[in-house]
Every structure is written in structure tokens, then in C-alpha cells.
């Protein structure tokens, strides 16, 4: 803006356009001047365009520092323990003897390049990896001290729930989606009234109640993408699990929905242990308390997020997280 007000303070000729700078509506005969120079003129204030909801935030930009969430004040409680777990698909080793604790009161983020085995490790925590016929697993995973291989798989998955990359509500009403996990199979299905308090509770915890509370009988697939994903979280929370697994839950969502879900995750970590797989290192830095960096199936580095991102011990970690700060 300095170029518009020359340093000469004396009242000198005023340069205006042919129209005297009066009418902005009249179509100019000549190509419009690039800049009008009016000495001592009032500074022009450009009004922002009428509200489109976008408010530029100070410092928002590529070089903006990532705001770390405050650590939770809730007491840490170890829920799951992964010990020497290796998983192979046929001949290919996808996870190579990984050991990790999963604690309530904190968010554990698994990061790493594509194909590093982080999703496979996540899917082994609720034994979903067993669906793949060629998958074999060794090592032990325990939930509250109990070996998950000894547990009934449906019971395990009620306690270790999961949310997927793509929002995938079932083609039924919002209510039925949330009530899905609560309804036992076979006869004697509880009625709507009996489930209402649980469904409402799950929707409140997923931060969706205010938006869908009045329209619980509407089809879930009519919700927006971000709402659908929060519905999937509510659905996963309905059976009151101890551990919530999130497989890149924001990668199909816009930034605003991503922010809403991240805030939700930070609230949820107080009551459930949260494990999140993410490609987005900024996201890991924003919400994770502990970070596990995986590379080629190996857990290269595990530690508090500040340490893994700020002063990684391993060269490979340093190379990978190098981009996290922009």
C-alpha cells in the first residue's frame, strides 16, 4: 500500500480518472486505469464480499503452526496391550512384531506411509483382520488383561468398536443405525422406547443430537458426509465400548467436518481409549497424545506426540515427519 501514498506531503496536483473517480457504475470507454492515484485521499477500505461463511483466520496459511490440543486431565488407564504382534497376508508380512499400549484418556495415532501396516494393525485389535482369508496373526493382544483370541468375537467387537474411512451408515433411519449394535440377534428384540435413552446418549456423545434429535426417523443416508461420519461414531459408541478404533475417519470429509470430528475425538478420549490411523500428520499432531510411526510393517518409533514430531530419535521418522511442520 505504500506505493499509493507518495512521501511528498505538499498539496500537489490531484490525479483522477476521466470520470473524476465519481461514478463506479458508468461503463468506461477506455480500459479502466490500473490504479487511481489521489494524493491525500482517504484510504480505500475494501469490504469483504457478503458473507459466505468463510472467515479467514489470522495466521491461517501454509506456514501456520499446528495448534496442539491440551493433554487430557483424565487418568490414564491401559485398556489394550499389543505384544509381539505380526500379521501376514499369505507370504507378505504386513505387521512385524509390534508392541504397543492402548490407553484410555489419550489418543494414540498410528502414522506412516501407505502400505506400512497401520490399518492392518488397527483391524487386528477387533479381529476384523480375520475376515481376510489369507491373513495369519501371531503375538498376543489383550483387552483389560484378557486375551482377545479367547473372547467371543462378537462380544469383543462390541467392546472394541470401529469407524471406517468412508462414512457408511446403513440404509435405515438414524435411530435404527444407532440402535443397530444394541439390538441382539433373533427374537426378543427390545422396542424403540427401551433403546431411546441409549440412542439419545450416543448421539449426544457424538455431538449429533442437536442436528438430528428431532428427525430420528429420517433415512441416515440423507445426512451430509460429516454428519454421516458422526452418526457412524454414534453407532460405534452406542454399545459403550472401551476402545474406539478410527481408520482415517476424516479423509473423505471437508475441513470443517474434519475439525468437528477432531474436537469430538478429543472429548471422547476421556471415556474411551482412542486409536486413530491417519495419513494426515498435521491431524496426528493436533490430536494425538502418543504417536506410533510405522514403516514397512515395523513400528519404527513410539512416543509422546511432541517427541515423535519434535525430536524424533530415528532417521526414518525424521524423514517422514519432516513435512509435518510445513
Amino acid at each position: 500500500m505504500g506505493a499509493m501514498s507518495p512521501p511528498d506531503p505538499s498539496p500537489q496536483p490531484t490525479f483522477t480518472t476521466a470520470e473524476g473517480g465519481q461514478s463506479r457504475l458508468r461503463a468506461p470507454q477506455l480500459p479502466p486505469p490500473v490504479r487511481r492515484i489521489v494524493v491525500d485521499a482517504e484510504p480505500t477500505v475494501v469490504q469483504p464480499p457478503p458473507g459466505n461463511g468463510h472467515v479467514p483466520q489470522a495466521g491461517a496459511g501454509l506456514a501456520a503452526p499446528v495448534r496442539r490440543a491440551k493433554p487430557s486431565s483424565a487418568p490414564k488407564l491401559e485398556r489394550m496391550r499389543i505384544e509381539g504382534v505380526s500379521i501376514a497376508y499369505g507370504e507378505k508380512l504386513a505387521v512385524d512384531s509390534v508392541s504397543l499400549p492402548v490407553r484410555q484418556g489419550e489418543v494414540l495415532a498410528l502414522i506412516g506411509p501407505s502400505g506400512c501396516g497401520k490399518t492392518t494393525l488397527l483391524r487386528s485389535l477387533n479381529r476384523l483382520v480375520e475376515i481376510t482369508p489369507t491373513a495369519v496373526r501371531s503375538g498376543t493382544i489383550s483387552l483389560d488383561g484378557e486375551d482377545i483370541d479367547r473372547m467371543e468375537v462378537t462380544a469383543l467387537r462390541r467392546r472394541v468398536s470401529m469407524v471406517f474411512q468412508q462414512p457408511n451408515p446403513f440404509p435405515m433411519s438414524v435411530f435404527d443405525n444407532v440402535a443397530y449394535a444394541l439390538r441382539e440377534q433373533g427374537s426378543g428384540r427390545p422396542g424403540k422406547d427401551a433403546l431411546m435413552s441409549h440412542v439419545g446418549d450416543a448421539l449426544v456423545r457424538a455431538g449429533l443430537w442437536d442436528e438430528v434429535g428431532a428427525t430420528l426417523d429420517h433415512p441416515a443416508l440423507r445426512l451430509s458426509g460429516g454428519q454421516q461420519q458422526r452418526l457412524c461414531i454414534a453407532r460405534a459408541l452406542a454399545a459403550r465400548p472401551e476402545v474406539l478404533l478410527l481408520d482415517e475417519p476424516c479423509s473423505a470429509l471437508d475441513p470443517r467436518s474434519t475439525q468437528v470430528i477432531e474436537e469430538l475425538i478429543l472429548r471422547l478420549r476421556e471415556e474411551v481409549a482412542v486409536v486413530i490411523v491417519t495419513h494426515n500428520m498435521q491431524q496426528a499432531l493436533r490430536i494425538a497424545d502418543h504417536v506410533g510411526f510405522m514403516y514397512l510393517g515395523e513400528l519404527v518409533e513410539y512416543g509422546p506426540a511432541e517427541q515423535v514430531f519434535g525430536s524424533p530419535r530415528e532417521q526414518r521418522t525424521r524423514d517422514y515427519v519432516g513435512g509435518a511442520f510445513g
Binding site: N126, L128, I131, V153, T154, A155, L156, R157, R158, S161, M162, F164, Q165, Q166, P167, N168, F170, P171, M172, Y180, A181, Q185, L221, G225, C232, R235, A236, A239, L245, A252
Partner: protein
């Protein structure tokens, strides 16, 4: 370069010929469809007689006294209901097994081939097979028996069973397509909530596949309503409905009768009835039934929009 790039005049001759041939083929098809509809509508209106719809056929030589086609209409409806009741559950079960289980894979391939064989068999061949099958003495209770207990192998049950085979491949195909279009992560989401495979199929996959199942079923019903060979061979040559035993509902099922297709066939100049005006009106009614079924298919298929992101 001033000429638009995509003007037909600039195309090579070969492409222009193909272009106009494609136009011509489309227009010709529209013309044929319109001709059929208009012709049948005009003939149907010409011979329109509400009485025909509610009168039973009679065996009078004088056409004015030979009655209408109440029984054939009822026969068509009954056959549609019975064959759908067999084909829809069976087809959905086969499709679910093929897409969700399909093991051992050799058996799955064999089932697929079997469905294809059934789909490719002409209905007259199915009818002959049905006749041989239902003429067995021990299946006599399912079919109309003549005086003295001779098993003729003809009844609504026999015809509906073979008609179901016509509809079955369409139900299987549409249901499989619908199930295959459900992304794998939707199944996994259900497993991840602690549901078994059976519960997932029942509560998530089948409801999601409902438009596809409906489409396949309606397509199958269209084929059943229009088939003649099986009716002529397996439903007996009687235009009137004849109860197979004591007048009960089961007696109706094991009795014989006719449908609109066989009525048209018998009354057409090719048949023995020589009542072309009745044949035209019945054919018009049949056409309406099939058009309504096709309309149903389109309506159901409209519900098949992409439900999930992939």
C-alpha cells in the same frame, strides 16, 4: 478452422452412414413399439366388451355364447402369485449364497452354470421336462388326475414350478448385482459392531438390496405373464378353471385352467377357437398387464441410486 469440429458434415462417409443408421434403427424401434401399441389398442377398443372380463369361458359353438375370459385373467394372476412365491425366495437365497458365501468355489461355479443353463433353456423344453417330472406316480397328488387315477402331470402347481424356473435367473441376477454393489466396508461396519454374518445379511444387506430384488422379481413376473408354452403343456387345455379335487384351495392349485396367453392362442386364427376379436381384446389386456409390470420395474430400479461412497 472456422467450421465446428464436431459437425456431422465433416465426418468421413463411413461414420456418417453409421451415424444415420444408428438414428434410423432407434426411430424404427420406436415406430415398431408404437405400431404394436396402437394396433392392439385400436383392436382392443374395437372389441371392448366389459362383459368379457367378468364372464367365464363357455364351450358353446356360437361365439356370442362362448363367454369371456374371467378364468384366464384369474389364471394369469394365480400363476404369477404362485411362481413368484417360489422364484423370489429361492432366487434371493441362491444370490445371497453366491455373493456372501460362495464356498467351495467349485460348487459356486457349478451353481452359476446351473442358473445360466436354466436361463438359456427354451420354455417349451422346460414345459416338456415339467410334464415328464410331474407325471410320476408319486407326485400325482400335486396334479390333476383323470378318472381312474391316471396322473396327467398338469396343474397350476406344475405350471407354477416351471414358470418359477423362468423367473429364477432374473431374480438371481438382479439380486447378485444389488449385493455386489454394496461396498465391502459396509459389511465390515456391521461385523465391527459385533454382528454375525447372518445378522448382517438379514439386517443390512437384504434391505439395501431390496430395489434390486424388486426389479428382478418384476422382470420375472413379466416373463411369466407372457409365457405360453408352459401354460399350454402344463396347465391343461381347458379354458375354464377346474378344481383338482374337492373344491378347496389346494384343489384349485392342483387343478387346471388357462391364462391370457393360452386364451389368446386358442382363440387366435392359429388356434381352434376362431374368435379373433376375443383374442385381440385378451391380447390387449395381456399387453396392459406386462406394461404395468415393466413400469413397476422402472419405478423400482429408480430406487437403486448409489447409496454409498466407495
Amino acid at each position: 478452422m472456422s467450421r465446428p469440429i464436431d459437425s456431422v458434415g465433416s465426418w468421413p462417409l463411413r461414420d456418417r452412414v453409421a451415424y444415420f443408421a444408428a438414428w434410423g434403427a432407434g426411430l424404427a424401434l420406436i415406430a415398431i413399439a408404437a405400431a404394436i401399441l396402437v394396433y392392439m389398442a385400436v383392436r382392443g377398443a374395437q372389441y371392448f366388451d366389459f362383459g368379457l372380463l367378468i364372464e367365464s369361458p363357455n364351450s358353446a359353438l356360437n361365439q356370442a355364447q362362448s363367454g369371456g375370459f374371467k378364468d384366464p385373467i384369474f389364471g394369469t394372476a394365480l400363476l404369477l402369485v404362485m411362481s413368484t412365491a417360489i422364484a423370489a425366495p429361492l432366487g434371493v437365497t441362491i444370490a445371497v449364497w453366491l455373493t456372501e458365501y460362495g464356498r467351495p468355489s467349485g460348487l459356486a461355479r457349478a451353481v452359476e452354470s446351473a442358473v445360466e443353463v436354466v436361463a438359456g433353456t427354451p420354455s417349451i423344453v422346460l414345459a416338456m421336462f415339467g410334464l415328464v417330472f410331474f407325471q410320476q406316480q408319486w407326485l400325482g397328488f400335486l396334479t390333476f388326475d383323470a378318472e381312474g387315477g391316471a396322473v396327467l402331470g398338469r396343474s397350476f402347481i406344475a405350471a407354477a414350478a416351471m414358470m418359477a424356473l423362468i423367473a429364477l435367473p432374473l431374480v438371481v441376477g438382479a439380486t447378485r448385482e444389488a449385493l455386489n454393489s454394496i461396498p465391502g466396508h459396509v459389511r465390515e461396519a456391521s461385523y465391527a459392531l459385533g454382528k454375525t454374518k447372518a445378522a448382517t445379511i438379514r439386517r443390512v444387506l437384504l434391505p439395501a438390496a431390496r430395489p434390486g430384488i424388486g426389479t428382478g422379481t418384476a422382470l420375472g413376473m413379466g416373463r411369466v405373464a407372457g409365457d405360453t408354452a408352459i401354460v399350454v403343456v402344463l396347465l391343461g387345455a381347458t379354458l375354464q378353471i377346474q378344481n383338482g379335487s374337492d373344491g378347496s384351495v389346494f384343489g384349485l392349485f392342483r387343478g387346471t385352467g388357462s391364462t391370457l396367453t393360452s386364451y389368446v392362442y386358442y382363440n387366435s386364427p392359429a388356434g381352434e377357437g376362431l374368435a379373433p376379436e376375443k383374442a385381440y381384446f385378451a391380447a390387449f389386456v395381456l399387453l396392459l398387464v406386462v406394461i404395468v409390470l415393466n413400469f413397476l420395474v422402472t419405478r423400482l430400479a429408480r430406487g437403486k441410486e448409489e447409496l454409498w461412497a466407495r
